[in-house]
């Protein structure tokens, strides 16, 4: 008997606990399932998860400083930066030794650009000093303090050494502070100067504009999805093709088309002027601002809203509306109290999709956003490809990821993630 019990355990026919014999018989099945997933898993791990992990770890990595200047970092630790005196000759000598190694390996300029993120001037200081320090010998030419100060007066500035000391650790929170318009100073955290504070604003703008885009997608998509699920299957197919039509053209083409439409002597302005709604001298500025970004992105992301909505609405039988009306509900009440609540999972799924896509969108804001309509992702791209400040880019990316996860969590708490249906 398989339900015979000993000490409250259910036993299988051969006397082993049922749980164990069940898990043994399931093991093969699980193995097979795992084998099927394994190739994809390995692919994703190697090409996606691992690089992302590396990228994210860059947001706190600072090993370039201790690795390039190992001795300097060690002796600088003993220096009391609040004393008001420059470090002593020991530090300068150590710095000279570190630098001559670095200069030979041509690594000093990289260090210069790294430290330039924290204090402007470092990059050129390292480059110029490098050329002259190459001629000094780290043993014969001691002492170095005065020589170095002569080579570049920056070495006689106490702030230089303070900065070096602050950024001597293997890890730093500096990039994250930078990401939120703050920075790490020898005296602790401080806000960036007013004119450099743009990232928080950019984060805020990205969130607000993504919300607006999601909202306009809901407003424009809901009626379409409703229509799709309520016409005959043949017309629905045709409509669906129209909805999906944008996917058949490249994103770049569609965005450029918006440029043609929206610019000051573009189609829309020409028409408005022609029918006399707008005087020729006061053509509307529809592009290179937030309006342009919102319009173009709403258009591009609309299918991602309509499809989940449609797939949910399709499953709502029209008989519910009839039932509601037979009970005395007006068309509106029947819709609002009976149909709409059942379509919320579709709205939820579409909104999450559109919001997450738009929060990280890059190409459209880049083309139609001008300076006022760009997103945080454009800033990330800038730091990756132009300023080469990968640490900051990684920190910004990490924050973006955390924001999305937090919103996802909040959504789960408020609406419930099991309320999301994608099909």
């Amino acid at each position: 008997m398989s339900d015979s019990t000993a000490n409250g355990l259910v036993l299988a026919a051969d006397g082993t606990p049922l749980k164990r014999s069940l898990s043994r018989s399931m093991r093969r099945q699980k193995m097979r399932a795992f084998m099927l997933v394994a190739p994809l898993l390995i692919f994703v791990l190697l090409t996606f998860i691992y690089p992302i992990g590396v990228m994210l770890s860059r947001s706190v990595q600072n090993d370039i400083v201790p690795e390039t200047l190992p001795e300097t970092v060690r002796v600088l630790g003993a220096w009391d930066s609040s004393s008001g005196d420059l470090p002593n000759e020991v530090v300068y000598a150590a710095f000279m030794r570190d630098m001559s190694v670095a200069i030979k390996a041509k690594k000093h300029t990289r260090l210069g650009s790294r430290l330039n993120y924290e204090k402007t001037g470092f990059s050129s200081m390292f480059r110029q000093s490098g050329r002259k320090m190459k001629k000094l010998d780290p043993v014969v030419d001691a002492p170095f303090k005065d020589k170095l100060i002569k080579i570049h007066k920056g070495w006689g500035d106490i702030e230089t050494w303070k900065t070096l000391q602050t950024y001597s650790g293997l890890y730093t929170s500096g990039y994250f502070l930078n990401s939120v318009d703050a920075r790490m100073t020898p005296e602790g955290m401080a806000w960036q100067p007013e004119d450099k504070q743009i990232l928080l604003k950019l984060f805020g703008r990205t969130l607000v504009m993504s919300l607006i885009i999601t909202g306009s997608c809901i407003l424009l998509g809901y009626p379409i999805a409703w229509l799709l699920s309520n016409v005959s299957p043949r017309s629905a197919n045709l409509l669906l093709i129209l909805v999906l039509l944008p996917f058949w053209t490249s994103l770049l083409v569609r965005t450029s088309a918006w440029k043609v439409m929206l610019q000051q002597n573009g189609v829309i302005n020409e028409v408005l002027v022609w029918i006399g709604l707008v005087p020729d001298g006061e053509r509307l500025i529809l592009i290179n601002n937030q309006f342009g970004t919102i319009v173009a992105m709403t258009h591009i992301l609309l299918p991602f809203m309509i499809l989940p909505m449609y797939s949910v609405m399709q499953t709502i039988p029209p008989v519910y509306l009839r039932a509601a009306k037979s009970m005395g509900a007006t068309n509106w009440t029947a819709f609002w109290r009976v149909y709409f609540p059942q379509s919320i999972p579709g709205i939820g799924a579409g909104s999450i999709l559109v919001f997450i896509l738009s929060i990280g969108y890059y190409i459209t804001p880049e083309i139609v956003g001008g300076t006022k309509g760009v997103f945080i992702s454009n800033r990330i791209a800038y730091h990756i490809s132009s300023s080469l400040n990968w640490g900051l880019a990684a920190a910004l990316g990490t924050i973006l990821l955390i924001v999305v996860l937090a919103l996802y969590w909040a959504y789960d708490r408020i609406v419930g993630i099991d309320n999301v249906k994608l099909g």
């Binding site: 039988p317 037979s326 009970m327 005395g328 509900a329 009440t333 109290r337 059942q342």
Partner: protein, 366 residues
Amino acid sequence: MANTKKSDAFVEFERVQKSYDGINLVVKDLNLSMPRGEFLTMLGPSGSGKTTCLMMLAGFETATHGDIRLGGTSINNIPPHKRGIGMVFQNYALFPHMTVAENLAFPLEVRKIGKSEREEKVMRALGMVQMQDFAGRRPSQLSGGQQQRIALSRALVFEPELVLMDEPLGALDKQLRETLQFEITNLAHELGITTVYVTHDQTEALTMSDRVAVFENGRIQQLAAPDKLYEEPENSFVAQFIGENNTLEGVIKEIKGGVALVQLDNGDLIDAKPINVTQAGQRTRVSIRPERVEMDKSRLSSDAHTLKAEVLEFIYMGDIFRTRLRVAGSDAFVIKTRNAPDQIRLQPGQIIDIGWLAEDCRALDA
């Protein structure tokens, strides 16, 4: 006819026609009048237009032609939500995002009935179907039968005078159907509600209804009480559709004294009651119920015509015996006899004489 005055009718269809596509009439010239409190069933094969009629009454389809009246006033132009008709749908149509109690409260809420009165009515309606304990559940947490009970009480909670049900028991198993059939008729009679019930299960129609309207192809073929429908079908469709029935084809020889002499296609002569045949020479289909066929000559009148029959199959069914015979060239002639102590059990191959009372055999249209 004289005692059904126009004012007595609560629900009336007058010359109603309906076409969805402008080519085919799905409902053809429907006339129907129901007194208050009646339980009427629309019975008919699939596609015969039952649901369409119900939907026109509920207001979800508009009649292409004709007049539908409720309590004497035409409702053609009244939207569904103002008709005050309760409905039970085949798949229950309980709102999945609301609890049972919220489902029942919905029709009261849209009528702006106060909270305390609402709760009282909801509990009373749940009490009618013995479902008070399930008020807090979601429809998905109920069994099919329980969902159907809730759907029923939701249709009744706002005390409509007319309730429409479209195959409400279609998705349930036989036993549950029977219980619920009983509950529905009891409730309808207790509350004095007028009910239009759609089904294509004839047993359901016969057991539940005051009157049954048999639909075929968009027309009411016969509208009568269950016993009349079974015993006195007015045409061969109804005779075939309701209950088991033996059909023989032939030509009328003569009609005399309320009895028609019919010559079957193999030449044999039988007696029948003329229903919708009027003169000699007409082709006819005679219909006789299996339980009205007589094997005992002594019970027939002396001059009654009999037929020779060969026993093909004898089936023991417990309470009755079902015997299949070859009669007048047809292999599908069935007789049913009660399992009584003195009843003969026929053997295949046996040749017997069968006959019937002329009034049990109906000569209908061919």
